[in-house]
């Protein structure tokens, strides 16, 4: 069997001398969605930042297609095939929606985005507007579309559904399903269990920086997840 697209082993780290996440393990194979669930402040976003290279791992390793990427800075991880859509400040507020979507495309063509505009027509209507004028949920949709349109083999989404209306959350789930069928691997941080249940193959439930539950969706009891999601 080939190496998983993303694997992380014994990942420990945080901000400065403060350790937020401890000893986390996980793997995502091609065509698979791993949902990281947990309350606010349990270290989900910190895990994402450790995986993307914004924070250094105190210990542990991150492997992309079996290759260690521990020393890579975030832009190098992107070039190695890892797309990241952050939870906070998900778009360039000072740039137009068009520039947000086409910043890294040599030809600045919006053609490949056509299918996304059909699902999220709001983006096409706002192309000329500064992204800073969008609502929080609209920014999340823009960030989501930008990330998926990058067509990378691995996509990390940090709370993509936050503030997004339910109808668009369903569209997001369908987009993820289509990408997944084409072999993309996803690691999605979520608090919205209803959304997670639509997309996840496997769960990693965190509390206080540690893994509480992990396994396939079928194996994990919903009640136990809810126990960790609600105080």
């Amino acid at each position: 069997m080939s190496a998983p697209r993303l694997a992380f082993a014994n990942v420990t780290g945080g901000y400065g001398s403060t350790v937020i996440v401890r000893d986390l393990n996980g793997a995502v194979a091609a065509g698979e969605v791993l949902c990281v669930l947990g309350r606010n402040g349990v270290g989900k976003s910190t895990l994402m930042k450790l995986l993307c290279g914004y924070l250094p791992c105190r210990s542990g390793h991150v492997l992309l297609d079996g290759r260690p990427i521990d020393g890579f800075e975030p832009s190098a991880r992107r070039r190695a095939g890892l797309t990241y859509c952050p939870q906070e400040r998900p778009v360039f507020d000072d740039l137009s929606v068009r520039d947000n979507l086409s910043l890294m495309h040599a030809a600045r063509q919006l053609g490949p985005l056509r299918p996304y505009f059909e699902r999220f027509p709001i983006l096409e209507r706002r192309l000329g507007q500064h992204a800073g004028t969008l609502s929080g949920g609209e920014k999340k949709v823009l960030s989501f579309v930008r990330g998926l349109a990058e067509d990378q083999p691995l996509v990390l989404l940090d709370e993509p559904s936050e503030g997004v209306q339910w109808e668009n959350i369903l569209h997001m789930a369908e987009c993820i399903a289509a990408k997944k069928a084409a072999g993309t691997a996803f690691l999605v941080v979520e608090q919205n269990l209803a959304f997670a249940e639509r997309i996840a193959d496997r769960y990693l439930v965190m509390d206080q920086g540690r893994a509480m539950l992990e396994g396939s969706r079928a194996d994990i009891d919903r009640g136990r997840i809810l126990g960790h999601l609600h105080v």
């Binding site: 914004y54 975030p74 070039r79 990241y84 400040r89 360039f92 507020d93 000072d94 520039d99 890294m104």
Partner: protein, 284 residues
């Protein structure tokens, strides 16, 4: 129209445009990277000395341009790598570090060229006639080139791909990195562009001012005042700042004397820092 008034009006335009071109380098580095490069004036000085050297070697004046750009780029790259890169987002530290750099560069210039003045001959002597007055050709060319440089920079920043990426980096560096932009390299390139623009300004003004090791001091102060009044991050802000500072300075200097002109500039800058710290045209 009265010839004196026309002459004074063009003098104001000349003062404003040279001020704008001398501020561009500082504006790029301060506005985009948040680094207040106190050694900005010394890069202007390097440009001026390059112009002086070119002339003393009897080379055509335009040779000073590639010479300056090469020197400022090399020096800018080294300074960014060694001094600035570890200090990004530490504004006070970069201020102290670049202040030290300015002292060093000044002393190096003094060691090589001596403490005295050098003058550079105007490469385009003569005058042109228009609106009933005679005006030195070189100053007219300087006005035109200043506006051209500012306009090209503004269009490039607003339209080009690299321009958008720089705006992206300034707006949200983490996200820029997530999209594969090497912020480290782009910031270095931006810093080098700033030092090169400062050098370019030096080549342009060299024939009109005494070239000496301390010349940079005045430029960095004025350039800083321009940014205080105009606001950071846009060419229109820079031009309006240059118009305010250059206009007030040359108007008061013409009506009274140069000391009063400088005093007025200082008062204007203090008023802006106090009452409108984001300047006339703030970014975003």
């Amino acid at each position: 129209m009265d010839a004196l008034i026309v002459t004074q009006a063009i003098n104001v335009v000349y003062a404003v445009s040279t001020l704008a071109v001398l501020t561009l380098g500082l504006a790029v580095i301060f506005g985009l990277l948040g680094v207040l490069n106190i050694a900005h004036g010394e890069f202007v000085m390097i440009g001026a000395y390059c112009a002086y050297l070119t002339q003393s070697w009897n080379w055509p004046y335009l040779v000073a341009l590639p010479l300056t750009l090469a020197l400022c780029a090399l020096l800018g790259a080294a300074v960014e790598r060694i001094m600035i890169r570890p200090l990004y987002r530490r504004p006070f530290d970069t201020l102290v570090a670049t202040w030290g750099l300015s002292l060093l560069l000044r002393k190096i210039a003094e060691a090589i060229f001596g403490p005295g003045f050098h003058s550079v001959t105007i490469p385009l002597p003569g005058t042109v006639q228009f609106l009933g007055i005679e005006y030195p050709i070189y100053r007219v060319v300087l006005i035109a080139v200043s506006f051209a440089v500012a306009a090209v920079l503004m269009i490039w920043y607003g339209r080009s791909r690299t321009g958008s990426r720089i705006r992206a980096m300034v707006s949200n560096p983490e996200l820029a990195q997530a999209q594969g932009i090497s912020v480290r390299r782009l910031a270095a390139a931006t810093f080098i562009a700033g030092t090169c623009l400062a050098g370019l300004g030096g080549v342009m003004v060299a024939p009109l001012v005494p070239v000496q090791p301390f010349m940079g001091l005045d430029y960095v102060l004025r350039a800083f005042f321009v940014l205080v009044v105009g606001g950071l991050g846009s060419v229109p802000g820079l031009l309006s700042g240059a118009a305010a500072i250059g206009g007030v300075d040359s108007a008061i200097s013409a009506a009274s004397n140069a000391t009063d002109g400088y005093f007025a500039v200082l008062v204007l800058a203090i008023l802006f820092l106090w009452l409108k710290p984001r300047g006339l045209i703030a970014r975003g």
